[in-house]
């Protein structure tokens, strides 16, 4: 694996794994308030993280893809 690919892996790992592990910090967001459309924050946080990760990853992957492969 060359240095460039290694760098991509490290950046990807940081972008993905850090926010993903936010989901594992359940005690912090395991609450019924605040809520949105009647849905408790306990359920909103993982979905919010999903959308954020999606956006960041897509931008990163397509940018890297265009430039380097």
């Amino acid at each position: 694996m060359n240095m460039h690919i290694k760098k991509i892996h490290v950046i990807l790992a940081l972008i993905i794994l850090i926010p993903s592990f936010i989901d594992l910090t359940v005690p912090i967001y395991n609450r019924d308030a605040p809520e949105l459309f009647g849905i408790a924050i306990f359920l909103l946080v993982p979905n919010f993280v999903a959308v954020c990760i999606n956006g960041i990853l897509y931008c990163f992957c397509s940018h890297k893809g265009e430039n380097h492969e």
Binding site: G38, A50, Y58
Partner: protein
């Protein structure tokens, strides 16, 4: 319950599904007498196709039936599926392009091919293949349970419902086996796109129409106990370890690796994987149906006519039937039905690859290409019918436990497959011992957690609370694999020094 409003769209779309499956043979033509053409669609799938194929691979009856069933029966613990999806694609994005690159360079078709080459151990490769084949069986069975749930709701109240249901399943599997045999992964990919379009339409329709018709989520949540809104603190270790264990296990399933290796390039694989967490939002909506159903009295009345243990798997189909117009119910139920059929096809293909390439070929290395592809196609068909027989023989209760059992087994190949991609110091003997101990301890804990009776729980009570068994047995496996490899390397180094 059966009405022409529902049956006509259901059957019409199912015919279209069959046509697409058979048309796959002529789509992006390749020589289907080669395993990589039949099983990996010639490794020529782009970003969108890989997105739909892996989406179909991973969003299965587990999402449509098992998760809403768990939420309905046990509450918020089963919302673990939403963060687990996020984490699993994170893990995949980091590790799978590396596996894809090696597979392309060296012609691997399965994870066992990689393990055999990397560790020079046919024994370890065969063990990985057997683990993959066995772990897939309950997963295929779960798909059939999902299909059964659709038919049960559609046929409720009809004369001879049980017989019609079994014949319908049998016909569906014969058709599936026929087009998988002739079209390979190409047919499955086309049907996966078809299935995902229907599922996405259903999910969006349900999330808009159902809350409006029941007076909003607030009303639905007011109908359930507190443990459906937030997680009881005693279940936090279970929740966190279910996320972790399931996320680590998902991409180790042979059908997921099959989907990964069919990608045209590592870049396209990365981009499609980056988009896949979108399905997490769809999964959240499906999980919420386990709560929404409490606010639909007609659906609850319907469910009360079934034994408590099998009500959960009927939640989504019955919620759709009692809140949507008949014609739309037909479309949505077809989506769920083929949502079990398509993954079952991909899983059986992946099992067949493992059986032929990594088990039969080990004992008959001079097998010709034409014999290899023939055995692969036939065994793919056989695996489908073994799973179907399994479902007919075993009652369809606690569907999610079937998948969690598979998860416990498949997680044990992580040290060889994922760690093996990056860690040079791993050695084959500790990996073999780790795999055996991991599987043995996992099965023992599973049996102990269920008092050596029917499998309904996959959590093990420890001093830290209830923990998903896959995580405990994987930790034991990792300790043996890494600790043993360290010891082997030390011994070898001291021998070299002496010489």
């Amino acid at each position: 319950m059966t009405s022409s409003d529902i049956v006509i769209p259901f059957v019409s779309l199912f015919i279209l599904f069959i046509v697409l499956g058979f048309y796959g043979k002529y789509w992006r033509k390749g020589d289907l007498n080669h395993v990589h053409e039949w099983a990996l669609a010639g490794r020529k799938l782009g970003t969108t196709l890989v997105f739909f194929l892996i989406g179909a691979d991973l969003y299965t009856a587990y999402s449509f039936v098992a998760i809403p069933s768990g939420v309905f029966a046990k509450g918020s613990l089963y919302f673990f599926a939403i963060p687990y999806v996020m984490l699993t694609f994170g893990v995949a994005l980091v590790t799978m392009p590396r596996l894809w690159t090696l597979a392309r360079e060296k012609g691997y078709i399965t994870a066992s091919d990689f393990v055999k080459d990397r560790f020079g151990s046919p024994t370890l490769a065969i063990m990985i293949a057997i683990t993959g084949i066995v772990a897939e069986l309950p997963y295929i069975a779960l798909q059939i349970v999902g299909m059964q749930a659709v038919l049960t709701v559609m046929l409720a109240g009809s004369a001879n419902a049980q017989v019609v249901e079994e014949i319908s399943l049998l016909i569906s599997f014969i058709v599936l086996a026929a087009f998988t045999y002739t079209s390979g992964l190409r047919g499955t990919t086309l049907t996966a796109i078809f299935k995902d379009i229907i599922i996405w339409i259903t999910v969006f329709a349900v999330i808009i129409i159902v809350p409006l018709s029941v007076g909003g989520f607030q009303h639905a949540f007011s109908q359930v106990k507190a443990n459906y809104v937030t997680l009881p603190s005693a279940l936090m270790p279970a929740y966190a370890t279910l996320i972790l264990g399931s996320a680590l296990a998902l991409y180790l399933y042979p059908h997921a690796i099959n989907g990964v290796l069919s990608s045209e390039s590592a870049r396209k694989l990365r981009t499609s994987t980056a988009l896949l967490p979108l399905y997490g939002v769809g999964l959240a909506i499906l999980a919420l149906m386990g709560v929404l159903v409490f606010a639909v009295p007609n659906a609850m009345n319907f469910l009360s006519g079934f034994p408590e243990s099998s009500r959960g798997i009927l939640v989504v189909p019955s919620l759709i039937m009692y809140t949507m117009p008949g014609w739309f119910s037909g479309i949505a139920l077809l989506g769920i039905f083929v949502g079990g059929l398509v993954p079952a096809a991909i899983m059986a293909m992946a099992q067949a690859n493992l059986l032929t390439r990594n088990i039969i070929k080990e004992f008959k290395p001079n097998i010709s290409n034409s014999s290899e592809i023939r055995i692969t196609k036939i065994s793919s068909t056989v695996f489908k019918f073994i799973a179907l027989g399994f479902v007919f023989a075993v009652p369809a209760t606690y569907a999610i436990s079937l998948q969690l059992l598979g998860g416990i087994l498949i997680a044990q190949i992580l040290p060889a497959v994922i760690c093996g991609l990056y860690v040079k110091s791993l050695r084959k003997t500790p990996l073999i011992i780790g795999l055996l101990v991991g599987i043995g301890s996992g099965i023992y804990m599973l049996e102990a957690a269920n008092n050596f009776g029917a499998l309904t729980a996959s959590l093990f009570n420890t001093g830290f609370g209830s923990i998903y068994i896959a995580v405990i047995s994987l930790a034991i496996n990792l300790a043996i694999s890494f600790g043993g490899s360290y010891a082997v390397n030390k011994v070898q180094a001291s021998k070299t020094e002496k010489n």
